[in-house]
Symmetry: D2
């Protein structure tokens, strides 16, 4: 009854190539029946949410502020936290696994936070750390998510 | 595309009568097409979640710890926060409106927190405060939720 | 070596009479050798901090934002949290005891939060709750603080 | 009236050489009249606090739990947050600057978090990042802290 949750983290700005990867990641998460959790704003988050929604998936956005309209339009369930960027800690550890795409220091904080709580982090072109599991393509996520069921 | 979110708050222990009201509240939230948000544990939270799920609804549980198995079995989407009872602030302000059932000081903190952020709180036998809107029965929630669409 | 910490909570606006009580509370906390913790902003917080500083005491302000200049001028140690009003949970439970003066729903949330964690709350004209210990005058705090040493 | 605050971050376990550096850092912070903020537990945090206290300084520990006895014995002001490792976000951004010593992923999360909020981070053998300002020795902190006054 409890659904599998997959967090997607990455920059709130991103180039087109990264957006394509993010959208593909979102699509795969949805196709595998998992819920996509993110920080709910723009860039990687929005692209991933768009991908998930295009495949009929469900998306949760955990946003910094108190106004749900700040979330991108592809977030189905907007959790307004009001705790600012400390919401990164919840995005990073609130789900079953984390998929990291390119991002800046906010993304780094999320990777650090997830790893410090022994959460598995899968990297697609993001910060490279010894314990980040590097993926060659989004397709590899299918097996990872299947393994969580 | 963004769903209506309704938080249900109340004690982690409750008597049978309160559980019945909570279950009814959950059922109505689901029937009105809204997502039920709660603290994800026992008592009022569990009864409300059971009601929502029995009516085919979707439930989000924002839990204090890092272990998703702590959530009750009727939570579909478990957000593990790891921030302890500070998660009350997110349950109280993370959704569109709050429905308050009987509870102790944790519930009081949520009511205070919601009201301090101008979130509307509907009371069903909970702490009475000047700005808590008292309902006579769960049925009255239908109109309230309809008004949010 | 660990100092006694006393949180003072109350409205960010207050009338003159309340400000006088708050200032007296701050002075007594300082005279008894304890550190005054508050939300660091205006009203009751500022008056209490002014009282503590006037008596040579030390004050900690746990503020919602990231800019330390938002704290009132009588805060010695400004902790910028960036977590918004969720910082109420830290003001309410981060110290040894809580002294509650008149305030609105933010103050109520702090009282509820403190009581839910079994923290002792002493009331001076604030929200009346069964487990809030009502004081007749700030002077009674001397004995309370002495008892913590 | 507002004091300069310096956060010291690093592992909750550390080797003797790192402890010596941390102690020296704490001593310098105290000698420069700043308050030392840390996560309040063991390892780097404890060594830095010991250094600061040995030089007559003041130390603040922002700890994960609700029990102040969990803080190391060199913390003067223990803020019990109850928010678990999300308190890292407050240690990282609650003060004027951050000094990073060797640590694991918790330390990395703090560096990422501080940098994402444009807080200056000074590194002494810690994670190397483009925007971490590398110091050769703790002595260099004197000038940095002086520049904040």
């Amino acid at each position: 009854m409890k659904k599998i949750l997959v967090s997607v983290i990455g920059g709130h700005k991103c180039d087109e190539k990264t957006a394509e990867v993010a959208e593909k990641v979102g699509k795969i998460i949805a196709e595998e029946g998992a819920v996509l959790v993110s920080g709910g704003l723009a860039g990687v988050m929005e692209a991933a949410n768009r991908g998930a929604v295009s495949a009929g998936g469900l998306t949760v956005g955990i946003i910094p502020g108190n106004d749900k309209s700040e979330a991108n339009e592809f977030v189905n369930i907007v959790i307004t936290t009001g705790i600012g960027y400390a919401r990164n800690t919840i995005v990073a550890t609130g789900s079953d696994i984390v998929v990291a795409l390119p991002g800046e220091y906010g993304t780094l904080s999320e990777i650090g936070f997830a790893l410090s709580l022994k959460k598995k982090v899968y990297g697609l072109g993001s910060w490279e750390m010894p314990e980040v599991i590097k993926l060659e393509s989004p397709e590899e996520l299918r097996e990872v998510i299947s393994g969580l069921k």
